[in-house]
């Protein structure tokens, strides 16, 4: 099948579009359409599709525009809410990452120092902690640096965990 444009095609298309075919067209164009296969195809197809479109338009009602309007308002509102809550999502993500990083650093540091968990827990008696933090003089030789690191790391971890839980509960 070869593609060959007809010189009358543009004129005929315009006549069909304007509704001038066939009465509003000259005898020359009508004679050409009778003889030209492409143009007779164009007339047949355009008239059939126009008629089908016209019949389809009156076939079924299309529903209420007010319902669509209302749904679009809801969707726009949801999109606006999403846009506003984006910074909170970023903060949540940051909190998650910070918590994980602190946890990993803390665990790595403890692993490097030998993981003496059993001895630390025995030292975590409240009076002992009180003694270490406030009663004992600064620079005392009895303060275990691993214990201080453990307490501070645990505190930071608790802080971030609380923040993460709060933000997560706000979202859901």
């Amino acid at each position: 099948m070869t593609f060959r444009a007809c010189s009358y095609e543009k004129e005929l298309t315009q006549a069909l579009k304007d509704g001038h075919w066939p009465e509003g067209c000259g005898p020359e164009l009508r004679a050409h359409v009778d003889a030209c296969g492409n143009c007779s195809d164009l007339v047949l197809v355009t008239q059939t599709f126009r008629l089908a479109r016209s019949e389809s338009e009156h076939a079924t009602p299309c529903g209420s525009p007010s319902l669509l309007w209302w749904r679009s308002q809801l969707r726009r509102r949801y999109a606006a809410t999403e846009r506003v809550s984006r910074p909170i999502t970023v903060a949540e993500t940051f909190a998650w990452i910070a918590t994980v990083v602190v946890g990993i650093v803390f665990m790595a540091s403890q692993y490097r120092h030998g993981l003496h968990w059993a001895s630390w827990w025995s030292e975590l008696v409240p009076l002992r902690i009180l003694h270490v933090l406030s009663i004992a003089p600064v620079g005392s030789a009895q303060v275990d640096p691993n214990l201080l690191l453990f307490i501070s790391g645990f505190g930071v971890l608790l802080l971030f965990s609380a923040l993460v839980v709060y933000l997560a509960s706000e979202k859901f």
């Binding site: 099948m1 593609f3 579009k17 492409n38 007779s40 195809d41 164009l42 047949l44 197809v45 355009t46 059939t48 599709f49 126009r50 008629l51 089908a52 479109r53 019949e55 389809s56 338009e57 009156h58 076939a59 079924t60 299309c62 529903g63 525009p65 007010s66 669509l68 309007w69 749904r71 679009s72 969707r75 726009r76 999109a79 606006a80």
Partner: protein, 193 residues
């Protein structure tokens, strides 16, 4: 022939810059939309039903098209451009629908799955057109409907479908010849019956 879409979002065409496409402004108010809907919905529904061959799907896609139309920033130029934009959204939704289940291009979808079983209307023209449309490829139905039922130019069809205007000219020529042959055959068969 097909223009590549680098945005990855087919359903809402990018007609403006990203900054301008924020959904802060409504394209029209409620009353204006109601009028626009009354004028454009029957044609859009007919287009979707004819091309998809599925009236229920056409209803769903039509509603989604209007929702996206209302949530997007529309192009300037009044109702003619609004309507073209709406058809573009609908065309992209159709394409998304065809791609979703089997990740296939519109031309690769088997004809038997897309046979035009439209029962929107039962006029004489439908009785002739339906069997012919059922034997056309979905892309051909799309181009034929946009060109001959809606009266869009090749350039406008190019904007709606994302195909090149030169490609549309050739595809439309072939599709028109094919459906004209089918229509003549269908008309002859009906006369014989």
């Amino acid at each position: 022939m097909r223009k590549t879409d680098t945005t990855g979002e087919y359903a809402i065409p990018n007609v403006r810059t990203r900054e301008a496409s924020r959904t802060d402004e409504l394209p029209m108010d409620s009353d204006a939309f109601a009028g626009f809907y009354q004028r454009s919905a029957p044609g859009l529904r007919a287009y979707l039903a004819r091309v998809s061959g599925n009236p229920a799907l056409a209803d769903d896609l039509m509603q989604e098209s209007y929702l996206r139309f209302l949530c997007a920033t529309c192009p300037d130029g009044g109702e003619v451009n609004y309507r073209r934009y709406l058809y573009r959204i609908a065309t992209n939704l159709l394409r998304d629908h065809w791609r979703r289940p089997r990740a296939a291009c519109i031309e690769d979808v088997p004809e038997r799955l897309l046979a035009a079983a439209d029962q929107l209307s039962r006029g004489d023209s439908q009785a002739i057109l339906d069997p012919a449309m059922a034997r056309m490829r979905p892309r051909e139905r799309q181009l034929l409907w946009l060109a001959h039922a809606e009266g869009y130019s090749h350039r406008e069809i190019s904007e709606i479908t994302g195909l090149s205007a030169a490609g549309i000219r050739l595809l439309l020529f072939r599709a028109r010849r094919k459906i004209a042959r089918l229509l003549r055959k269908s008309g002859t068969d009906r006369r014989q019956v």
